[in-house]
């Protein structure tokens, strides 16, 4: 079945360096450094990435950080809670804009 997203394309991420090798190099180094153990553990960073992957709805990132979270020792329960955090922020972000709607309603209404 033809589709815009192909699972095998994740392995071709490096192709993005073909036209702009210096930018790719900088991105790769920065990306690698971001996920190294620091004030947060590698496991915590993978869980954050998993949650963000769901927020930005990137199927490549969801695949990659599901594997990474498991391989860093997270349980499916912890990963599910992380996705709920992403969903709650997305849902809450929509809902909190309702205040803006209410402000406008107040301004326009008698």
């Amino acid at each position: 079945m033809d589709t815009y997203y192909h699972p095998k394309d994740l392995a071709r991420f490096g192709d993005m360096g073909k036209e702009a090798p210096e930018l790719w190099q900088k991105f790769s180094e920065w990306y690698g450094a971001v996920f190294k153990e620091g004030a947060l553990s590698e496991r915590e960073k993978a869980l954050i990435a998993l949650a963000v992957a769901h927020a930005v709805q990137c199927p490549y990132c969801i695949d990659a950080y599901t594997s990474a979270s498991l391989e860093k020792g997270s349980t499916p329960e912890q990963m599910t809670e992380a996705v709920h955090v992403a969903a709650a922020i997305r849902g809450g972000a929509s809902l909190v804009h309702g205040v803006q709607m209410r402000n406008r309603v107040d301004k326009l209404s008698m």
Binding site: E42, R43, L70, K72, E77
Partner: protein
């Protein structure tokens, strides 16, 4: 309820040659042999690991032995005696007893007593739930009396993952067993009784960092269940037997092998367990490791093939027999019966 073994369900992968052929047929970036700078040789023998049989009260989904309640292979008395006589004739410091559930072997306690009397360190690879069966409830006391190191399997501190891998109800029984081990002093600081846990990933992925996981496990098992232990060992699932069947059935086999090959770490070579272990099968045949044993890869041609003819001088620097499954021990931080091989 234990899952049926591959043998019981007449799976083609119950056959060692079929397993080897399945792995050999996979298109991989390189062979294990090509990954090595030099041929692999043993560097002495410091562990004699005896697999006393395939009988087990469990039938875990990842089991490389295809052990289970329906298996009948049990090390006969003459092989047991030959193993202990060989041990006596050497200065090999450690006897590692595995299975199946090794405690089901009718001579298990005799093996422990004789090896301890000979001054050897003894390891019991325990599935925990065996101690919940009638006639085996006093095992923690027996093992403590003989100061046996217990290496116990528990894939997760969460019940769902544990039961998914090891069978319904195993987690609850395992926690009860761990409490009993703690009660007799195992895993308790200052007791001298060592209780180490082993975790295998519950699926087609590599284990987490042993060091990071150990800290999480100590915190969670203490917080959730009041359980303490000494060390946590992470072990990579080997593409052998029931885990191989799982990989094939779930469509993960090629990707898992590619992952192992991509994660090859040359720094693991020095600590590979085949370099210091001699493995004995239930029938007395010799192998470089328990994994080679399960896919019927005996010691290399020209070297002693059974415990009846074993000599340290002849086996201590033997050539190691390798195959694609060996990538499982060299991925990432490495994997062995004692956990990671690179820290």
């Amino acid at each position: 309820m234990a899952l049926p073994t591959l043998l019981n369900t007449r799976s083609p992968l119950a056959d060692a040659a079929t397993q080897r052929a399945t792995l050999a047929a996979l298109p991989l970036a390189r062979t294990f042999e090509d990954s090595l700078a030099d041929a692999l040789h043993a560097d002495g023998i410091s562990v004699l690991q005896i697999n006393v049989g395939k009988r087990c009260n469990q039938a875990c989904r990842h089991c490389h032995v295809d052990a289970g309640p329906d298996r009948t292979e049990v090390m006969p008395p003459d092989v047991v005696d030959a193993c202990l006589r060989f041990l006596d004739s050497t200065d090999i410091p450690t006897l590692d007893i595995t299975g199946g559930a090794p405690e089901l072997h009718p001579q298990f306690r005799e093996i422990v007593r004789r090896a301890r009397a000979a001054g050897r360190h003894v390891i019991d690879r325990c599935n925990l739930t065996i101690t919940r069966l009638p006639n085996y409830a006093d095992l923690p006391e027996f093992l403590a009396e003989h100061e046996v190191e217990v290496i116990a399997s528990l894939p997760s501190f969460a019940s769902r993952q544990t039961d998914a891998q090891r069978g319904e109800g195993v987690f609850e029984d395992s926690i009860a067993a761990l409490r009993r081990f703690n009660e007799v002093g195992y895993g308790v600081e200052g007791s001298g009784l060592v209780l180490n846990l082993v975790t295998n990933p519950v699926g087609a992925f590599l284990p987490a960092s042993q060091q990071a996981l150990e800290a999480d496990w100590k915190r969670e098992l203490q917080r959730r269940h009041g359980i303490s232990f000494n060390r946590l060992y992470t072990i990579t699932n080997m593409p052998i037997s029931r885990f191989l069947q799982f990989l094939a059935d779930s469509g993960n086999l090629q990707a898992y092998m590619e992952k192992l090959v991509a994660a090859f770490n040359p720094a693991t070579i020095g600590g590979l367990m085949c370099r210091y272990t001699l493995s004995v099968g239930w029938d007395g045949r010799l192998y470089d490791c328990d994994f080679n044993q399960m896919i019927d890869l005996g010691t290399a041609a020209g070297f002693p093939a059974t415990i009846f003819e074993a000599e340290v001088a002849a086996l201590g620097h033997r050539r190691i027999v390798i195959g694609p499954h060996c990538f499982g021990c060299t991925a990432g931080a490495g994997s062995s019966c004692g956990g990671v091989t690179v820290t």
